[in-house]
């Protein structure tokens, strides 16, 4: 009979092997699903690969998708380390987009480009942080479950965006399409490389990751969040202000998700619309987990999943393969990853006869 036996030490190389195998399982089941639907999996994966990494332009598009992922994940890591479940990155991302768009659309007069970008960056971070702090305060005061509230706030943010796009902020010249006027030139993020859509947003992302890495590895706050995440009672006992740290962490998390929203509208779309990268908020959860909440590994994982997203989108257009395949692969990868954690602390053993 099979059983699990406790390990005396954690095999460190498993932390590299498990994510890779998980991704492979995700891809394998994805391939089977594609084959069941009567499509050749080699075509699909070949398509994703070439659309994600096949050319400089394809790779730049992957980085475009990776930018918001890196930003959101960097923020999620801070709260996930405390075992606070911010599932609301999507809503915070929308709020960041809305807040910064307000300035781009209605308050851009007389501001130079650097000023305008500054205003948009700050407003997006404030917007995201506010959206993250609502559920945080409810959790701290009344123990309202943050998984549910942050998630509900995603829907609420989305309908606020829809309301604006179909109503007050709608571009009268959009022929009924739910989108705003195009931003003025001063509100558009400069592109890094000619003929790509890659903007300085990626630099914001890399700076953010570095700051988060520094916070976690080097700062007192980093020590505190580790203790809180492992045992909140011990944290209180050690005199850590748990609630204060949770508020700071959620504010950082929301602010970075908000900033991601800004880089998307200001850098890529150039106006506000209903569909702005819906899946980043959820994909970032997977990215954070597959990177074992390590900020630097996040960059690599974001590029990988950014590629999957970007390749998947292209595939939907070129081969008419549903984008659902991306969610399928992502979810199976996440299942495998969560399930495989047991092998860090236990080994599978076989015992003859009775257990």
């Amino acid at each position: 009979m099979l059983y699990f036996e406790k390990r005396q030490s954690v095999p460190q190389h498993f932390k590299i092997i498990i994510p890779i195998i998980s991704l492979l399982i995700g891809l394998a089941i994805g391939a089977i699903s594609v084959a069941i639907a009567g499509i050749n999996p080699i075509d699909v994966y070949g398509g994703i690969l070439s659309n994600a990494f096949g050319s400089w332009y394809a790779f730049s598009e992957t980085l475009v998708a990776a930018t918001p992922l890196i930003l959101i994940t960097a923020g999620l890591i801070v709260v996930f380390k405390m075992n606070i479940w911010n599932i609301g990155a999507y809503g915070q991302y929308i709020m960041g987009a809305i807040f910064s768009s307000y300035f781009a659309l209605f308050a851009s007069n007389g501001l130079s480009k650097p000023m305008m970008i500054c205003v948009m960056v700050i407003s997006s971070m404030v917007g995201g942080a506010i959206w993250a702090l609502i559920p945080t305060l409810l959790k701290i005061f009344w123990e309202v479950n943050e998984v549910i509230t942050t998630l509900l706030l995603n829907y609420i943010a989305l309908y606020i965006l829809k309301f604006l796009m179909y109503g007050p902020w709608k571009n009268p010249a959009s022929y009924g399409f739910p989108l705003s006027k195009t931003f003025p030139q001063t509100a558009i993020l400069p592109v890094l490389f000619k003929d790509t859509r890659l903007t300085i947003g990626i630099i914001f992302a890399l700076i953010s990751v570095f700051i988060v890495w520094f916070l976690i590895k080097k700062s007192k706050f980093g020590y505190e969040i580790r203790v809180i995440g492992d045992n909140p009672l011990a944290a209180r006992y050690a005199g850590i202000s748990v609630n204060r740290d949770i508020i700071i962490g959620m504010a950082i998390s929301g602010a970075l998700a908000g900033l991601a929203g800004m880089t998307e509208v200001s850098g890529i779309v150039h106006y506000l619309q209903v569909k702005i990268g819906a899946d980043y908020g959820y994909t970032a959860i997977i990215v954070a987990w597959i990177a074992y909440l390590d900020p630097l590994v996040t960059i690599l994982a974001s590029i990988l999943f950014g590629g999957l997203a970007s390749g998947g989108y292209s595939l939907q257009i070129t081969m008419r393969v549903s984008y659902g395949i991306v969610g399928l692969i992502e979810s199976i990868t996440l299942f495998s990853l969560v399930g495989a954690q047991i092998f860090l602390n236990y080994k599978l053993r076989w015992k003859n006869g009775s257990p």
Binding site: E5, Y166, G324, S331, V338, Q341
Partner: protein
Amino acid sequence: MVHHSIYISLLANTIKAGTILLFPTIGEIFSERAGILNLGVEGMMLVGAFIGFIVSYITKNPYLGFIAGVIAGGIASLIHAFISITLRGNQIVSGLALTIFGGGFTTFYGQKWINMTLNNTLPIIKIPILNKIPYIGPIFFNQDLIVYLSYITVFVMWFILYRTTTGLNLRAVGENAKAANAMGISVYKVRYIWTFFGGLLAGAGGAYLTTSYAPFWLDSITAGRGWIAIALVIFAMWDPLKALFGAYLFGGINALQFQLQATGTTIPSAILNMLPYIGTFIVITISSIIVKTKHIKPPKELGIPYIREEK
């Protein structure tokens, strides 16, 4: 008299819309009572809705479709059960993965079914005598078979929970798994059974949606109802009877929103569509305050993997 019938039909629709939430809420209550938090309700509902829809479409029999949807939800829940019970994985993340899975799976395979409509929906079966009761009759007893099944489910499950050994074992496992194990109850078995049951009922909610309330196919057709159901579990304080009120309250919001949209209103549709989520947000906040001030505790073992001591 015209106004009168509008209210009756609004309330009858409330029951219908509430039924979509009632099944998954009951299912999640039992799963959580066993100590397993399954945040994949939305995903299981989507799978149930999708399979329910296509089986109804192909067989032209909504009952078969409904049953298929129920089973599909159950099967989906087994992934979560395996990861959180056998592999002792993080239940929050596994549940989220299940939700993403439900979305991905149904979007991928549902591509060619988008905007198709079902002609044979669940037929109304009037219950003789009872449906003649003024007000009550047309609201509660002028419904389809699945609605009646939901009434039975609530009361039977309440009875099982509080009056039978099965319910006793379930409650013990969710409150103190170690003690339950010491009394010879298999914690793993109980958890598998009730997580599966939760999946069946989530599937039922989804399947009821596409075989009766909204008989067509769209991506993410459940639109967050799975999350509302999870919130309702807290509203119901893990009691099946209280779940009935919560589900019908939100069914009411849904029905009202639908009616307003149909009759034409000046309220923007985005605001109308936001209502259920705002409502859920408020309800979960208030219920949490009540739970906290009245010192009601969720099942103690909720979300904690059970590790039988090594032999």
